[in-house]
Symmetry: C2
Amino acid sequence: MSRFLICFLFLLLSSVSAAGRFLRLAKPDPSAAAATARWLSSQNSWGVLSTISSDLGGSPFGNVVSYSDGLPGDGRGIPYFYLTALDPTARDALRDERSSFTLSEFPLATCGDIDPENPTCSKLTLSGKLKLLEFNTTEGEFAKKALFTKHPEMEGWPKNHKFRIFKLNIEHIFLIDWFGGPKPISISEYLESATNRVSVF
Amino acid sequence: MSRFLICFLFLLLSSVSAAGRFLRLAKPDPSAAAATARWLSSQNSWGVLSTISSDLGGSPFGNVVSYSDGLPGDGRGIPYFYLTALDPTARDALRDERSSFTLSEFPLATCGDIDPENPTCSKLTLSGKLKLLEFNTTEGEFAKKALFTKHPEMEGWPKNHKFRIFKLNIEHIFLIDWFGGPKPISISEYLESATNRVSVF
């Protein structure tokens, strides 16, 4: 039996590693739309940030980015990013702040055999304005800690790339977590949704 | 020892399942940019499709979608989608075809402990025009088979949702697979890149 226990622990640790090094919270019931949206924000470690491309004449441009909405187990729902203007996404945002940030439940490995496009495998798109944050502010310090804790290697990224912190000011929330179309969630419902705060270290 | 073997096989099958039910090909060398881009297209099963949102006044809107670029082991590089106009992405594309499709290496579990935003964890954005395909054409039949083989449940999705096949006509390729910025890849280099065709069933 001890070998099975070792096997089980190995599987558990593999699962934790795949999600971004931190233990995961249980998925809320699909009827709890705001909680589900917050769960997706807090449990993922990366997503696709879409901007209006200045290089491509105003076409949409989605880019894979890491993010954090807070310390592990204490997500606040607002995604923060660590971007360099060497990359088109930051350059685009500095010209046109309109952007969206898209997350899927699929990489959290809780969709089972359900197809990633199936509405019960939840998906979240937060739309709004991508804003540059100053480092030496209360929110800038919070964001830096949130990012560097979930993405430890960021702290060592090249200084001459001039990475800056960006924040998505959310203006619209699109969540699909069940059949029947997107769930209506207001910004305040999303931001004020109770988070299941736990110690995960 | 047999218990360890069972454990190993279970882990192997878990890994295969996470990638979308099919065995994976080895990642090309980062110096082979077009092959790496094709590898990302053929090995992923879902990504984020970004359009110009008509609901949100022209803001970019990224949506999680499933796709296929061909039968398993025989990807052709062009992503096909199965979308309903009940969803904003298809509605947007029917008004403004400009779109981008974004894939990450991270869900393929080949990035190891590297952060999803690290340039060595490769990322691909295909930009172009999202076109509606007719079912009863040679390409429409190819696309349907490619989609339904990689995403078997699609065939049973509700008829009254009027799912249609869309194709991304690629006009620009953005690939990051190493340090030093995006790799220049032409459309023909991408489409003509040798694929490692193998039988994976």
